[in-house]
């Protein structure tokens, strides 16, 4: 396996103390109208690489043939590769990097791609069962890849336009749910997932018959603790997924206070900064060093979602209905073996689904897994070649952009498609 250093940004860097966020604009919202999403990743102070990854994927059935909650939904994934992960001796690392044989970044990378495909291919009718299938698929894929000892956490959230929400996780990456009713009386046990710090995707635990699978995979759904039969979340509910770099150093009520007072994107990009400040205060109290490189901060990543609810028709009147097609948008943060690993990317795919399913999930998986191995153009080409046979789809076009200033359009028909 060889690694390719991503090209340096062609765009001017953002001003100091600011972060660069990518936004996807489609006729159906940014990328949806019923939720606002932002994400951030920060390498922290203890690692010279980034094991964390964030991924938000939205699916929209443009033919409007499927029913709720599958007509329009999103998946949010946070993965935190285990620091102890390492490539096996049989894996050839041609271009060494600051990460060396450390493979936490690879574990989270593979897990996210495999999860998306496992979720979409699942035949289970319930989103929660699909989430479980996705986690099992990620676990098996990492094991079967046989690249070494690769393990990662993986927390997944399913959120539909109608408010249907489900979540599942393996490991200690946290899901916090801050519903509007908590605004006045403080959040009541907002941490929903991320209590299991002894489990990991890639350990093969999902295959073990000696482990209670219900305990291995933590699950959450609205009102799971009782109190109401409503299984959908309310408008104004915040869902925060974060790696332990943030959750170990920042209390959820403090995050909630920030979210109630400031715009979502500004809070999101400010979470690593707040975490550093909190860590400095803790270090100062304990008499430890407050130097930035001695704070002992792990990689920090977070996805913040606010569910706003569907408003009116999901398709604007000026937008035609596309038969047998899906719009798949993906936004994510990069991990990697470099000290400057991070940054964001966006991908918009218009995919045919005349055979019942689209090639978009497999395309996304192939694209994610080829990171640090090929340049972006080659990744897109390879991803399409790997995805097309999976669903026997011919219609596909895509737009890619990242915060390093790279952007490409792709279409499988040169006469038509992206232009």
């Amino acid at each position: 396996m060889s690694t390719v250093t991503r090209p340096r940004s062609e765009a001017p860097p953002p001003p100091a103390a600011m972060s660069r966020l990518l936004g996807i604009e489609t006729p159906y919202g940014k990328p949806v109208t019923w939720a606002e999403v932002a994400m951030i990743t920060d390498i922290g102070t203890t690692h010279a690489w980034n094991d964390d990854r964030c991924l938000v994927v939205t699916f929209k059935d443009l033919g409007e043939t499927t029913s709720s909650p599958w007509r329009e939904f999103m998946l949010c994934l946070v993965a935190d590769g285990a620091t102890s992960s390492s490539f096996g001796p049989h894996v050839d690392i041609v271009e060494t990097s600051s990460g060396g044989r450390h493979a936490g970044w690879r574990a989270s990378q593979v897990a996210q791609g495999a999860f998306v495909v496992g979720f979409m291919n699942s035949q289970q009718p319930d989103p929660l069962d699909k989430l479980r299938d996705g986690l099992r698929a990620a676990d098996r894929t990492i094991q079967d890849a046989n690249e070494g000892s690769l393990q990662t956490t993986l927390t997944a959230l399913f959120l539909s336009a109608d408010g249907t929400a489900r979540a599942a996780s393996i490991g200690d990456s946290v899901l916090a749910v801050l519903s509007p009713e908590h605004a006045s009386k403080g959040s009541k046990k907002p941490k929903k997932l991320g209590y299991e710090d002894s489990t990991a995707v890639g350990s093969g635990q999902t295959r073990s018959t000696n482990i209670n699978q219900d305990q291995l995979i933590e699950t959450w759904w609205p009102n799971k603790e009782g109190g109401s039969a409503e299984s959908r979340i309310q408008r104004g509910t915040y869902l925060v997924l974060m790696s332990d770099g943030i959750s170990d150093n920042m209390k959820i009520p403090a995050i909630e206070q920030l979210l109630r007072r400031h715009p979502l994107d500004r809070v999101t990009v400010g979470l690593p900064k707040r975490t550093r400040e909190n860590r400095e205060q803790d270090q100062k109290k304990s008499g430890a060093s407050t130097r930035q490189n001695e704070l002992g901060l792990d990689n920090m990543s977070a996805i913040v979602v606010r569910f706003d609810g569907a408003r009116g028709a999901s398709r604007p009147a000026t937008v035609p209905r596309l038969e047998d097609a899906s719009l798949v948008c993906a936004m994510g943060t990069y991990g990697g073996p470099e000290a400057d690993s991070g940054g964001q990317f966006g991908l918009v795919c218009l995919a045919g689904q005349e055979n019942g399913a689209t090639a978009a999930p497999e395309f996304l998986r192939q694209f994610l897994e080829s990171e640090h191995r090929l340049d972006v153009r080659a990744r897109i080409e390879q991803a399409w070649r790997g995805a097309r046979p999976s669903r026997n789809q011919a219609r596909f076009s895509a737009l890619y952009a990242d915060d390093h200033g790279l952007s490409f359009t792709f279409a499988n028909d040169p006469a038509r498609g992206a232009r």
């Binding site: 936004g23 604009e25 596309l322 952009a401 490409f408 499988n412 040169p414 992206a418 232009r419």
Partner: protein, 286 residues
């Protein structure tokens, strides 16, 4: 290969479509710089109660104590009563509950005024308007009075107001003033807003909240000028140029108290005379 990959500029709008299909979507991926959420100094101050909560609590304590001292609820203990000379009138004992600690007295609330018969009933065409003393605080209850006129009888003297010496009504009873009513006279009772009236004397410009319609040549009741300042009504007193009502023997009035004191002194004097222990003359000499 029918694949086509083209580099474009980030933020450029593109149309995604399928070959041969006129339907297409215009999309783009933009990037923007976002500043982390940061709280201003004012927000930090406002959202950090530990900075200002103690100050506010101290201020509340100061206000409460200041009010209590100013109103006499807490006051220095009076000097011990001098030995009364034989024959001297015994002062009316203060029956209020008193908690004394270190020379400071915490005085209980005054007993509620009890209704006593009027010495003389008012005439039929005269309305008695209680006149608070200058500087006194008169509290009016916002409870609307029954609009059905009720004939007033001599047996049911109205309690028009309750004097309260406290600025913020700490410990003051909640009186229910009765609109001035006269037997056989239509009374228009108007609900009044909650207000504190401070009689300071001055010309009248506004009618009283409760008005009485007096038939014939009856003089309208004297009304007090009231001005509202942010929910606090300041009564500037009775109208200039109008005849002030004569003070009647109201429960708790100075006249009543004087009469009671005089009666007590006379009784004490008579008892001493009967016992033979009293003075032989008014000079107090044996």
């Amino acid at each position: 290969m029918d694949e086509n990959i083209q580099p474009i500029t980030v933020g450029e709008s593109v149309v995604l479509g399928f070959g041969g299909d006129p339907a297409a979507l215009r999309v783009r991926i933009t990037q923007r710089n976002v500043a982390p959420a940061r709280e201003t100094a004012l927000q930090k101050f406002f959202y950090t109660p530990r900075i200002w909560a103690s100050s506010v609590a101290s201020l509340v304590v100061v206000v409460l104590l200041g009010t209590a001292f100013a109103s006499g609820t807490i006051r220095p203990a009076p000097p011990p009563l001098p030995t009364l000379a034989p024959g001297a009138p015994t002062p009316t004992p203060d029956t209020r509950g008193v908690f004394s600690l270190g020379g400071i007295q915490l005085v209980g609330l005054p007993a509620a005024a009890t209704a006593t018969p009027r010495p003389a009933p008012p005439s039929s065409n005269e309305t008695v308007q209680p006149t608070p003393g200058i500087g006194e605080l008169t509290v009016f209850d916002p409870t609307p009075v029954d609009e059905q006129p009720t004939p007033v009888t001599d047996d049911a003297p109205p309690v028009a107001s309750v004097t309260c010496n406290q600025v913020i009504r700490l410990g003051c009873p909640n009186p229910r003033p009765v609109a001035p009513q006269i037997a056989g006279v239509q009374v228009a009772a108007t609900p009044t807003p909650a207000s504190l009236e401070i009689s300071v004397g001055g010309p009248e410009t506004e009618p009283t909240p409760a008005t009485a319609e007096i038939p014939g040549d009856a003089q309208p009741p004297p009304t007090r000028q009231a001005q509202q300042y942010g929910g606090v009504q300041i009564d500037s007193g009775l109208a200039v140029g109008r005849e002030l009502p004569k003070p009647s023997a109201q429960p708790g009035s100075d006249v009543d108290e004087a009469l009671q004191a005089a009666t007590t002194a006379v009784r004490s004097f008579e008892e001493q005379l009967q016992d033979g222990s009293g003075p032989s003359d008014f000079g107090g000499k044996p």
